[in-house]
């Protein structure tokens, strides 16, 4: 209808005249794509170790050399005393200290128990946990690799090695999961944040009153706002998708059509949510807070940073009301696991239901009469 086209034209004019908004629409995705994937890397790449050799034996030296040549560790040299150990840990100079007691070799040769002490700088608990596992593995691996005969009592032990094969993500880097995740965040932010502030602003400056006095129908007003922002959101998504494929080399394994369709629906959910918040908020500050609040909860629970399987029951229940978790599933399934429409059908259905629900709620909360 003519009215809706007019409203769409109005929104676009306003958006493009808002220099700050435009720069955010352009800069935000760039920042997210160029910085985020490079910062969001949980993989433990560098573990620094220092050694305290109180034994100075062939065995202890051999073990130390083994670590120093391993590619997983950064060699931080030797320490000689408890004081040095304290200092090294306190000032974050090392992640781990490997300590060989006196008579280490003798005890090992005689078949007695001997103990290597690993002290971890456990401030970074993840690093400490994974690092200590690495170290243990290296130690056991060292002993497994010793040939029969040297030293005499370290006979060949049975060893079961594991060959890990990686499916669905050959490159095995964080970017593969982060970049699609960023796409999700991008679409969500633009969808909900901008719309949430939009209508409240009209309320605050009074232009909505002028609209309310006209015979315009509520749904016309809403649709007239929804379409331009939907178009903008889809555009951002497509640009992001192109960046992902050509700049990061992550190709879409599954159906691109399904991906676009699902995104179209997800955007409707997010836009509807933004509008709903906009209608119920009294001022821009409130709207911003509410959106932000929800957004943080959604992102943390969505499975981007930590797997949803590991979350407590109540968190999983909350996720049923979290559109982002469903969309995240879709993104992973389609981009990384080659899913088509069939495999994501249930998520798409749920998102569709959410889209309908939230937009009806938004319409109902738009009262052109104050009571």
């Amino acid at each position: 209808m003519r009215i809706i086209l007019m409203l769409i034209k109005k929104e676009f004019l306003q958006v493009f005249r808002n220099r700050l908004l435009i720069s955010i629409l352009i800069v935000a995705p760039l920042v997210q794509f160029l910085i985020f994937p490079f910062t969001a890397d949980y993989e433990i790449k560098h573990i620094s170790i220092a050694f305290w050799d109180q034994d100075h034996s062939t065995l202890s030296r051999e073990i130390i050399e083994h670590f120093r040549h391993s590619s997983h560790f950064i060699d931080c040299g030797f320490i000689d005393s408890e004081a040095e150990k304290e200092k090294a840990l306190l000032h974050d100079h090392v992640d781990f200290i490997l300590q060989f007691p006196p008579h280490f070799e003798k005890q090992m040769v005689r078949g007695e128990e001997s103990q290597i002490a690993i002290t971890a700088n456990a401030i970074n608990s993840v690093k400490a946990g994974i690092g200590s596992d690495y170290i243990k593995n290296v130690l056991t691996g060292f002993f497994e690799s010793k040939e029969e005969g040297t030293p005499p009592s370290i006979k060949k032990m049975t060893s079961i090695s594991i060959n890990h094969i990686h499916w669905y993500n050959e490159k095995m880097n964080y970017q593969n999961i982060m970049v699609p995740g960023i796409l999700v965040i991008l679409v969500t932010l633009i969808g909900s944040y901008v719309t949430a502030l939009n209508i409240v602003r009209e309320k605050e400056i009074g232009t909505i009153e002028q609209i309310n006095v006209t015979p315009i129908l509520k749904w016309q007003f809403l649709v007239g706002k929804m379409i331009p922002f939907w178009i903008l959101g889809m555009l951002e998504f497509i640009v992001g998708l192109i960046l992902m494929v050509f700049f990061f080399g992550i190709s879409i394994q599954g159906s691109t059509t399904a991906l676009l369709g699902a995104t179209a629906i997800y955007l409707l959910v997010m836009l509807g949510l933004g509008f709903f918040i906009s209608f119920v908020s009294k001022n821009q500050l409130q709207a911003m807070f509410i959106v932000f609040f929800l957004f943080v909860i959604y992102v943390l629970l969505s499975g981007l940073f930590t797997p949803t399987e590991g979350m407590p029951e109540w968190a999983k229940w909350i996720n049923f009301a979290n559109p982002m978790s469903f969309y995240m599933d879709i993104i992973k399934l389609v981009i990384l696991k080659g899913a088509g429409l069939r495999e994501i059908a249930s998520q798409v259905l749920i998102l569709s239901a959410m889209a309908v629900g939230i937009n009806i709620a938004a319409l109902l909360s738009y009262s052109d009469k104050i009571n």
């Binding site: 290597i116 002290t119 608990s125 130690l139 090695s161 094969i165 990686h166 669905y168 797997p307």
Partner: protein
């Protein structure tokens, strides 16, 4: 002084009247802690796997027994072909498939060397690395059992691990400093910048400037209530962390609070700067979010480790006060650092505050002149 108090009172009334925003402001730290504390875990219960046993001998069955008894896994299928494995991945959503090669027992006992194949679903790397660890743990234990029965205690190596500063590998340490930082930025920087921008947007600022109220009182009066709020939030966060999450605070709590106050000033000076360059509330919001909040989340070292980042980013991180604040905070809480130990960080924060304040004042003057 009275002027200042009057303005503070006015701001407090504004804040109090907007109950929804107030509620959200105060509950956000609580929500964040609960989310970070309870949901970010590294455990995956009942991970679904399939086991393709190509040997079906005594030892392979014992291995399968170890896997099922470990409690980590839920074996959903015993496929008989690689094709079936592929189906298991797509239809049963298994996270890994373990393939036990033929002649497992023979290789294990006579050759003392055997290789298992594990196919991992890498589409979620976080999940995959945890699953890998579980599998390796079970295999390692299985292997140890064999060696123990064979070798007894000969040449047995023990390894002791001490987790210094964080004996329980509490991940609370990682995120509590980060949450405090974020809340301070939101309440002090964001809110201050918005209220200042709001006055200029609704033209009430012009009115205030005409009155005999000193400009510095206007600014202080608007910022102080929010600093107080963020201080309150910080106390709430610390209380929850200590009492619910058992996070110990090794260092002096007063030093900790002083550090927080210094960071509050730094945040406030950011808020001041942003309001000086924003014409509307919307602008203030967007600039704070994009220019302060987002970089802080990404580059401060609280969510993502700084060591892994390209060097350029690590340099960039130095501009943002959050990085220094978090380092200082961790040192106090975890290592029991005293004021002397963190003087450098405090100095950096004060330096940044002063710089920003001077810059904003010049901006405000320039705008008033135009």
């Amino acid at each position: 002084m009275n002027q200042l108090l009057a303005i503070i009172r006015k701001e407090l009334i504004h804040i109090y009247r907007d109950k929804i925003s107030l509620f959200l402001m105060l509950s956000m730290p609580i929500v964040l802690i609960i989310l970070f504390g309870f949901t970010i875990s590294t455990e995956i219960p009942n991970a679904k796997i399939s086991i393709y046993d190509q040997s079906e001998d005594v030892q392979s069955k014992r291995l399968i027994q170890s896997l099922t008894a470990s409690g980590y896994f839920q074996v959903v299928n015993y496929p008989k072909s690689e094709k079936e494995i592929a189906e298991d991945f797509s239809q049963l959503q298994i996270k890994a498939a373990i393939i036990i090669p033929p002649q497992f027992e023979k290789k294990l006992i006579s050759e003392k060397e055997v290789e298992l194949q594990v196919i991992n679903d890498m589409s979620d790397i976080n999940v995959a690395s945890v699953i890998k660890q579980y599998i390796e743990t079970v295999i390692l234990n299985f292997e140890n059992d064999i060696n123990l029965t064979e070798f007894g205690k000969i040449g047995q190596l023990k390894v002791s691990i001490q987790m210094k500063y964080n004996p329980e590998l509490n991940s609370v340490y990682m995120f509590v400093p980060g949450i405090i930082t974020l809340i301070m930025i939101i309440i002090t920087a964001l809110m201050s910048s918005i209220t200042l921008a709001r006055e200029s947007e609704t033209n009430t600022m012009k009115m205030m400037l005409i009155t005999p109220v000193k400009k510095i009182h206007i600014v202080l009066g608007k910022v102080i209530p929010y600093m107080a709020l963020s201080f309150l939030s910080t106390l709430i966060i610390l209380a929850i962390s200590v009492w619910i999450f058992d996070m110990p605070i090794k260092g002096n709590i007063f030093v900790l609070l002083i550090l927080c106050i210094v960071f509050m000033f730094t945040s406030a000076s950011f808020g001041l700067l942003i309001s000086a360059i924003s014409k509307t509330q919307l602008d203030a919001m967007m600039i704070t979010m994009m220019g302060l909040f987002l970089p802080t989340v990404l580059l401060s070292g609280f969510l993502f480790p700084l060591d892994n980042m390209p060097y350029g980013f690590q340099l960039l991180a130095n501009i943002f006060p959050a990085k220094w604040f978090i380092l200082a905070l961790k040192d106090i809480m975890i290592k029991g650092a005293t004021f002397i130990d963190i003087w450098f960080y405090v100095a950096v924060l004060l330096f940044i505050s002063t710089l920003l304040t001077i810059f904003s004042v010049t901006q405000i003057d320039r705008r008033r002149a135009s």
